[in-house]
Symmetry: C2
């Protein structure tokens, strides 16, 4: 069966200086407004953010004949050097990105190029390598680790390569349960295209509404259903990549031992080796039943013991997440209900979809109860499900109110989980305290593995001035603490430029040499996403 | 918890010119003897194989000061240049290997080096790189793809680096369910060490009794319990590797997005990038219950439909395998009972271990019955379990009787499974027919995935003369057929030297360039396993 479609309606374009649909942006709920001074002391409302038409940017550094050469490939209307297009591609959606979007002068790419298919991507890369133009691959624009910063490295200009025209379900093999999706297809578009045939991919990260299939692959994304369906990399069965020195098609067969699995070289490569243009994924029939159940544990430690038991037995829930006491207390897991205290202790949400729900739920419930959990009905789980993609809207409202808000994540083994949580929490609290800011640190576990789990932190802080500088210092301290406490520098946000200086401590000097060697082979001019994953000096 | 042990008894040393324990080698069962002429026509018994002390080999090319430099690292008794040691490390256990072991003149490594720990391995590699000596890493000696051929590439000598002294359970983290095993630990030793603490790794390839943990990792092994516990690569959570240019320790955390997963660069690298010295694996409590059930399907097509349904639903059997009509007819799946016809149709063996056996079995049975399967009790599954590691003994007896016998494997999507099976079967039959030999081709599926499955072929042929030459031609034809029919060049036997010329057709020119770039970075002199995975000319 073969299916082509680019006709599925896209989500509304994202706010240029915030998250998501402009129509959904909202003021801070009254309950939050009441809670914040209790947590953070007096908050000072900042100056109003700059308007799009007031942003100042440098004139494009792209030479006229560069632009003409790109236009020859993609068509004249698809090399966009307008101020708005350049500003809209200036970065991702980390809190530092959003703070930079509030500044008058902004660093932006010199043009936005919109190729229409794999061959156009390959041709753009060849021309860019030839002309010494850096290229930042751009999917949904949802990076929170600086992967989209318009860094030009040693080159005279930098362009954003926006993949939004590479969209659609290219092939569906219903017998094998495999679908090939164009890399620029967004999460909602992919699910809509598959739903028409009775299938689901089932990958729901918080960025789902805007992020793309290619971005999920490039960043080693992990979604809310990871307990049931695994990380995105476990869903990928094939990949097509354009590099400046040649194409590559990988994933000839499931279960191969034909040398190292080179798909894994590109999953997590964040655009430094090539541009992913197609991804083959395993899909499954749409589940027709969903069961929700919330649990309350006396504390986070008891909750993690419960989650560990579930992770180390087969066939548990599709979604499972555990909020620590601080997150449970302010119900920040339930964005829509923020401020309505749920209960004391540590809250767990479970969702079951697919085959054998009754047995899986019975087995899971027995394990959670044995660890001290008490079932608390559907309510909190329903709230979580309703608001699960809305966290970033709240952050915009907090920033507008002058509250610093950011998230970060890591992972480690079960044995090391509490030491890592303590290390990161201390680095956040002490870091903000040293900057004279009160902070509130919350944490949850949202991805479990047989051998360990992720930790996802949300921090609110009453930063009085220069939040970009304060956060740079705190974030460095957190990254040092993650490394010192045995965690990974990223569980699913990826490396980008923000984590790149810490990567060598994770994979060693030999590891960085391996990445640099692949980079030099595939991209000898170093045009692709300079400074992401490995710093520019390591790739020369 | 920390545990050190090298005291677990090793298996008896393998026959120098055949499989396994010399005491277990046996004549061909009478039933097989009766069956063979019916399948293959008249068989001519070959000349008796050469005795070990009659083998002729070249004098060692290792210079005296090379040997002294290695001895300074590992100790004087551990650079073994005896004829017997060199002959015992001359290759693996493919049928061509065994046929070469029957020849008078044999190509062998110039010495066998026995390092005692990671640092000695690293020091040996540094000296070898410095002196221009090629190094073939040697674990259990069970390669069937030429990965142990004593090829020296551009170097003046070649040594076999035998890892048998790197043995033991180095660490056990019972909370996280992780164990660190020294790379030279054999399958049985690893399980014995873990059993003492109540844990199991659960990786049981046919080579289990001799193959090593490092070999499982280097070759992307897959075991009989793969339906329940996954391929070996899914069990690996960390790895330590010595390369000629530096060490690397990988696997800081489960569920990382810190750049590409570099563990996967070494899984499947077959010793061309470095020597794996330690492997961290996920382990699970020893299952206390085991349930066996055999099934009969009207034919292979119905059986694959049943297996596909099981693979595409969660929580099925620990082991599942399906023999085609040809294999079912001669019961070759049940080595101990060869010649006792089981039944018409296609036989399926299922084994359940671990949690929730009753539900998993009920769900699996319903799916198999819906596909036309009929349960046939425990008998055939018990026979399979009893004889599951004994296939290679039978091959030795067949070779002694003058019957060519070899196995090979591939994998593809469910949609393409029958086309691939037909392509490989035709290549085998036609290839032997063109050489004037009758053949009998059998096939089974023993590893299932949501998107596809493996195909494992056993071929018997009445080759009258020069079986090495005949097989080289037939095997080339099979490899061409695998590529033409969309299969992978290896599902779990790996690439070695035998499949290396076909790898580029699987991963493309860009893929080979990636491997060569990593190779040049880590092993710039090209001393490590020259010609394995990628041909020597691609690594210069």
């Amino acid at each position: 069966m073969s299916h082509q479609s680019g006709r599925v309606a896209a989500e509304s374009e994202m706010r240029w200086n915030g998250w998501g649909d402009p129509a959904k942006a909202d003021d801070l709920p009254r309950a939050v407004r009441a809670l914040l001074p209790l947590l953070l002391g007096r908050i000072r409302k900042p100056a109003a953010p700059v308007e799009l038409h007031d942003v100042q940017l440098d004139a494009t550094a792209l030479r006229a004949n560069d632009g003409a050469a790109f236009a020859e490939i993609v068509g004249p209307g698809r090399v966009d050097m307008s101020d708005e297009a350049r500003i809209r591609h200036a970065g991702g959606r980390s809190t530092p990105d959003l703070l930079r979007r509030r500044q008058l002068h902004q660093s932006v790419p010199d043009a936005v190029i919109l190729p229409g298919d794999h061959d156009e991507v390959a041709a753009v890369l060849a021309v860019a390598a030839d002309r010494g133009v850096a290229v930042i691959p751009y999917g949904g624009g949802t990076s929170v680790v600086g992967a989209l910063d318009p860094e030009r490295g040693d080159h005279h200009a930098v362009v954003s390569l926006d993949l939004r025209r590479l969209t659609g379900l290219l092939r569906l093999d219903a017998v094998s349960g495999e679908a090939v999706l164009a890399a620029g297809t967004t999460g909602p578009d992919a699910e809509a295209l598959l739903t028409a045939h009775g299938y689901e991919l089932g990958h729901y990260p918080q960025s789902f509404r805007y992020a793309t299939i290619g971005g999920f692959a490039a960043a080693r994304s992990s979604g809310q259903n990871s307990a049931g369906h695994g990380r995105f990399e476990t869903m990928v069965t094939g990949i097509r990549v354009a590099t400046p020195t040649g194409d590559i098609d990988l994933g000839r067969s499931p279960g191969s031992a034909a040398g190292p699995d080179l798909i894994r070289v590109f999953l997590g490569s964040e655009g430094i080796f090539g541009v992913i243009t197609e991804v083959r994924v395993r899909v499954h029939p749409i589940p027709h039943e969903r069961v929700l159940e919330s649990w309350t544990f006396p504390d986070f430690a008891a909750g993690t013991a419960g989650l560990r038991a579930v992770a180390q037995h087969v066939g548990g829930p599709t979604v499972i997440r555990l909020s620590d006491e601080a997150e449970t207390a302010v119900s920040l897991a339930q964005v829509g209900r923020i401020g309505r205290a749920l209960s004391k202790g540590a809250a767990v949400v479970t969702v079951y979809e697919g085959d054998g729900i009754a047995e899986r739920r019975a087995r899971t419930s027995a394990l959670l109860a044995a660890a001290g959990g008490v079932s608390s009905g559907e309510g909190a789980a329903e709230d979580w499900l309703d608001g699960r993609f809305d966290g970033p809207y709240l952050r915009d409202a907090l920033l507008d109110a002058g509250v610093f808000c950011e998230t970060l994540e890591t992972a480690t083994t079960w044995a090391n989980l509490h030491a890592l949580k303590a290390g990161v929490t201390a680095a956040l609290r002490d870091g903000f305290a040293d900057a004279g800011a009160k902070s509130h640190v919350m944490c949850h576990v949202s991805h479990i593995y047989p051998t360990g789990a992720s930790l996802y932190f949300t921090v609110l802080a009453g930063v009085r001035s220069d939040p970009l500088k304060v956060w740079a210092e705190v974030k460095a301290r957190v990254n040092d603490a993650i490394i010192a406490s045995g965690g990974t520098i990223s569980h699913h946000h990826a490396v980008g430029r923000d984590h790149a200086p810490w990567l060598e401590q994770e994979i060693g000097e030999t590891g960085v040499r391996i990445l640099a060697a692949i980079k030099r082979e595939l991209d000898p001019q170093g045009i692709l996403n300079p400074g992401a994953v490995i710093t520019v000096d390591r790739t020369r």
